[in-house]
């Protein structure tokens, strides 16, 4: 299966290990992965700040890099949701997948050769969860499901925990994290506190932006708890 790997701009620059894990994991599962070399950004940072009218260049560049692929897969729920909701090209909108939903829905993964002997706290990033419906939400009266915990259950040694409020936002919110700095940090601190109460080694999730925000708070407080993208765990081996 031919797959184009979409690496969001900030992952490319600051979290290359997340993109490497995505690449290796998809290859391990039999995909022929191509990495368009001139990709940059999906346009979300501007659009969510009220400047969707200046993202034409980003949209065009995304199309130039990703047109013609049946599957565009990226390790970020919010970037993928932005493309699904706002990219002008319908073919792109219907071809783009967040990597965990791609693993579960398209590749229909039943087993993984992964090993990660740690206790992890699962942060459900809102755009993946509520926007892409990667998992059920506590707001709705619906049968519980989660593509993330389905995958984590395939990883040997990994014990995952939800925080007490299992799907509350971490407060990253794009430019919100600086324009509403006080609320943003307070929300992040509150999430972290609940994860720490579960004595986790790592806070993990399917959106690096949320993790970057919580990592910044964790480091400032000198905490030993780390952050990892879920693909780093799915790709981990003994």
């Amino acid at each position: 299966m031919r797959v184009a790997l979409f690496v969001p701009c900030y992952i490319d620059q600051f979290y290359p290990q997340v993109a490497i894990a995505s690449l290796e994991l998809l290859e391990k599962l039999g995909c022929e992965v191509e990495v368009p070399g001139n990709q940059t950004c999906c346009g979300q940072p501007m659009a969510n700040s009220g400047f969707a009218h200046v993202t034409g260049g980003c949209d065009a560049n995304f199309s130039a890099n990703f047109s013609g692929y049946d599957y565009i897969v990226g390790p970020s729920g919010s970037c993928v949701l932005h493309l699904k909701e706002h990219h002008p090209d319908a073919k792109i909108r219907s071809s783009v997948y967040e990597i965990c939903e791609f693993l579960v829905d398209v590749l229909q993964v039943k087993t993984l050769p992964s090993y990660f002997p740690h206790r992890v706290g699962l942060h459900q990033s809102c755009h993946g969860q509520r926007g892409l419906r990667i998992s059920s939400m506590t707001e709705r009266n619906e049968a519980p499901f989660s593509k993330l915990t389905y995958l984590l259950d395939l990883v040997k040694g990994c014990e995952w925990k939800y925080p007490e409020r299992q799907d509350e936002c971490c407060g990253f919110g794009g430019t919100f994290c600086v324009t509403e700095e006080a609320v943003s940090v307070k929300m992040g601190q509150d999430r972290i506190q609940e994860h720490q109460a579960n004595q986790v080694d790592f806070i993990i999730g399917a959106d690096t932006s949320c993790l970057m925000h919580m990592e910044g708070i964790l480091k400032r407080s000198g905490s030993k708890v780390g952050v990892k993208h879920i693909v780093e765990i799915l790709n981990a081996h003994a």
């Binding site: 690496v7 490319d12 490497i20 755009h127 936002c169 919110g173 609320v183």
Partner: protein, 453 residues
């Protein structure tokens, strides 16, 4: 006036109180979850309610006229107000006709929206809010911080002090039972003295010309039943087509608001009792303007349950007053720009777009999407600070040019590694309470080039 971000920072400075506010409202959200999950058809019920409102909004003129005819036939006097000022004048003229100087008023967000209290007080009328929470904030010269729980920003110690000052309760007494009893005695006098009572309206039924007022304290009923003149004030979007629709809305309202199965009082007012005058004021005040905006018309489905307040992680940590509007929270943030874009430009940005609000909303208003649409609308209208416009355009330019992006990224990472003080300083709001991410030597694309091609 402070922006939402500035007011929030002040609110959060008292961490203990912020945590208490957050936990208290989360408790209400959890009660709502429990109550909504007792109904297997909950999601279908939300959809049904949303569709009834959709139908109502599409046929609003007909239903309003139908309501007017039926209400008049019942003996209710119907008034139309195009804006807040007209509404206030109408209410005042009714009061004036009866020559009264004091009145009791139960909860009505519409009258808050129209700033009726301030208007009447200027005319020398003593307005007594009879909802306990509203009376507390009224004593303090504040406005409600929450549309269902108006004094939720206050702790019992605060209420004790306020009552000590205004009702003469012993200093330091913070016993809720005692304070409630004091308010009860105080309000009883006001109820007995008032000739005019104002109430809000939760639902007005076009088919029958009746209106329904929901309270937990029975204060609307007490006021209306003792009064010689009952004035009910409502926004035009409160119309529902049929009485049977209440079977949908009353099940949703209290469960969504507080997790109760139903409000303690759901009172139907169909006609004045003998010798009483009953008035209803139908108010537009910008609603038809909102109705004409395709992206935002759904906001008029709101039944003011405040479920979106209680679930909003931003609201819970910033308090209702940070929204500087009578209706705070997520729904307030999509209603406010309709009244004044410039004054409320900060509100659609007071959200992470987490989407929790849209999913608790009993009438399925796409609140977080409307927040996004308002952001576009306000920025396109030129309401962004000049610095933001420049930075957004610069960002868009860099991110549209792959080679420029690669160069800028590499430079940025070098700056962080070689001259961390350039980003790790007080001018960078990220750095105030968070470390910057570490800058790797290679970007992914650089790694890919050296390892895979």
């Amino acid at each position: 006036m402070l922006s939402h971000a500035e007011a929030s920072e002040k609110f959060i400075a008292n961490q203990e109180r912020t945590d208490w506010h957050d936990d208290t409202l989360w408790f209400v959200r959890a009660k709502r979850d429990k109550a909504s999950k007792l109904i297997p058809e909950w999601e279908a019920l939300r959809e049904h309610a949303s569709q009834i409102k959709e139908h109502m909004l599409s046929n609003l003129p007909q239903y309003l006229l139908e309501f007017e005819v039926n209400a008049q036939a019942n003996g209710i006097q119907v008034h139309w107000a195009k804006d807040a000022h007209e509404h206030n004048e109408i209410v005042y003229s009714i009061i004036q006709k009866h020559g009264d100087k004091a009145l009791v008023k139960s909860k009505s967000m519409l009258t808050e929206e129209c700033h009726l209290n301030a208007f009447l007080e200027q005319k020398g009328i003593d307005v007594v809010d009879t909802d306990l929470g509203e009376r507390i904030v009224q004593f303090r010269n504040e406005v409600p911080s929450h549309i269902v729980l108006p004094a939720i920003h206050l702790k019992k110690e605060d209420v004790g002090e306020t009552f000590h000052q205004h009702l003469g309760t012993p200093k330091g007494n913070k016993d809720p039972q005692f304070l409630t009893e004091a308010a009860r005695i105080h309000l009883r006098e006001k109820f007995l003295a008032a000739k005019v009572a104002i109430t809000g309206v939760n639902f007005a039924v076009a088919e029958t010309g009746e209106f329904v007022v929901c309270t937990n304290e029975g204060n609307a009923d007490m006021g209306a039943h003792l009064s010689e003149v009952h004035i009910a004030c409502m926004g035009i979007e409160k119309i529902i087509p049929k009485r049977q629709d209440l079977g949908v809305f009353l099940r949703l309202l209290a469960r969504s608001a507080t997790g109760q199965l139903i409000t303690t009082y759901s009172s139907h007012f169909a006609k004045p009792r003998e010798g009483q005058e009953m008035h209803i004021v139908l108010v537009d005040n910008g609603r038809s303007r909102q109705l004409a905006r395709e992206e935002f018309r759904n906001s008029l489905k709101c039944i003011r349950c405040a479920a979106c307040f209680n679930t909003c992680p931003v609201y819970r940590r910033s308090g209702g007053h940070s929204y500087h509007q009578p209706v705070a929270g997520p729904i307030g943030s999509i209603l406010a720009p309709n009244f004044d874009k410039k004054a409320n430009v900060d509100l659609p940005f007071a959200s992470t777009l987490c989407g929790s609000c849209s999913n608790v909303c009993p009438v399925k208003i796409n609140i977080h999407e409307q927040l996004w649409f308002w952001r576009q609308d306000l920025m396109k209208e030129g309401l962004a600070p000049a610095g933001k416009v420049i930075s957004m355009k610069l960002m868009a330019w860099v991110l549209s040019n792959p080679s420029l992006f690669k160069w800028a990224g590499a430079m940025g990472r070098k700056v962080i590694s070689w001259a961390p003080w350039l980003v790790n300083n007080g001018l960078n709001p990220w750095y105030k309470q968070r470390e910057m991410p570490e800058a790797p030597k290679q970007s992914f694309q650089e790694w890919y080039k050296s390892n895979r091609s």
